[in-house]
Assembly symmetry: C2
Homo-oligomer: 214 residues x 2
């Protein structure tokens, strides 16, 4: 079967609809999305907290702190666990065995701004496994990696697509997981994708690169 | 080892502190608590949603709708999944194979008011497995079941203690799970209980009635 994907506009519309029509709060969605990602390997602030509870020792590179109250609370929850926030990505990457790339979301487009060019370059050059969330950072949600220059050779080891794969998966060649076990059958139908067959209480499921269940 | 429990005041204080000092929102805590309960067998509104996604067919007895905006959203999320809300507990119990008792929380005390006396009686009389959340309904958080009358012979099959067992567990004789994998080590220390050893990505862990890990 051809994999069904959600384009940029549809992905943004689904997110909005989950919070309006479907009555989810951003707190709920963030918690469930982060939990999905933590079960596939890692992620941003919520995933780091769950990873801590799973027994890992995450550290966080978070150079541009959001003033959004939710993100401030998520950071506080990590500080309470003594999870370190690091300023230097290069030295942090030298002392870890896995990188979770949750830098940009699916609404990223255009230029990679400071201080992130050096981070994208480090992600391109590292031999460590990298798990990207939804869209590998510097990639375009529709067209995948930049055709040349910064980010053009960045290929994460694993990708966690939240709710549904985005069109970029056509350019992705690695382990592919789908997470976000909170989309109702009617919403999936409305947006034209299929909910994968999650097992048991899992919040993620691995699919073949083409989208078939493994 | 003697099981360490959280009394009524401490349990309420910990809940407050999770939302103030620890910066969790009620949406986050509800989501994680409901997820814990869904993994042990079931629960209230959040657990019912997760159980639906696990492939079960829950129905909800929810005679006193809260005007609280969060509860209204949680109910909407279930309605969107066509999860039925039933008015008649007796006929609902006749067509299910498991009951989740999430009627009263840990702040319950005093008399069981209408329409719940018939529900408590049905829970006492049913042969079905019943999983209670935190405090079996009609029980006192400190002293367990009423010494006589309604609820005095109610003994659920399983209990899911959220964050930490409450003193009533001294009166409980069944399968005991602990859930709520979001309490930091420093909070557990402050409140004088131990975080159980959760496995892998589990959100619950089964413990012996005395509190030892199985």
């Amino acid at each position: 079967m051809a994999i069904k994907t959600l384009g940029a506009k549809a992905a943004a519309a689904l997110d909005q609809e989950l919070m309006s029509t479907c009555a989810f709060s951003i707190d709920q969605l963030m918690e469930l999305a982060g939990l999905s990602v933590s079960q596939a390997g890692g992620d941003g602030l919520v995933a780091a907290r769950h990873l801590f509870y799973y027994g890992y020792k995450p550290s966080i590179f978070y150079p541009k702190r959001s003033k959004n109250e939710l993100y401030q609370r998520l950071a506080k929850q990590l500080e309470d666990l003594d999870v370190p926030f690091v300023d230097d990505f290069q030295s942090a990457i030298a002392s870890t065995d896995h990188v979770v790339d949750a830098i940009f979301g699916f609404s990223f487009s255009g230029e990679v701004r400071e201080p992130f060019p050096a981070v994208i370059q480090a992600l391109e050059e590292t031999k460590l496994p990298v798990t990207s969330v939804d869209v590998p950072s510097s990639w375009d949600i529709e067209h995948g990696p930049p055709s040349s220059g910064l980010g053009s050779s960045f290929m994460p080891t694993a990708l966690v697509s939240l709710t549904a794969p985005k069109p970029l998966v056509g350019h992705f060649d690695g382990r592919h997981f789908i997470g976000g076990r909170f989309v109702s059958p009617s919403m999936a139908k409305k947006y034209g994708f299929e909910i994968p067959e999650y097992q048991g209480v899992d919040q993620v499921v691995e699919v073949a690169t083409g989208g078939e269940k493994l």
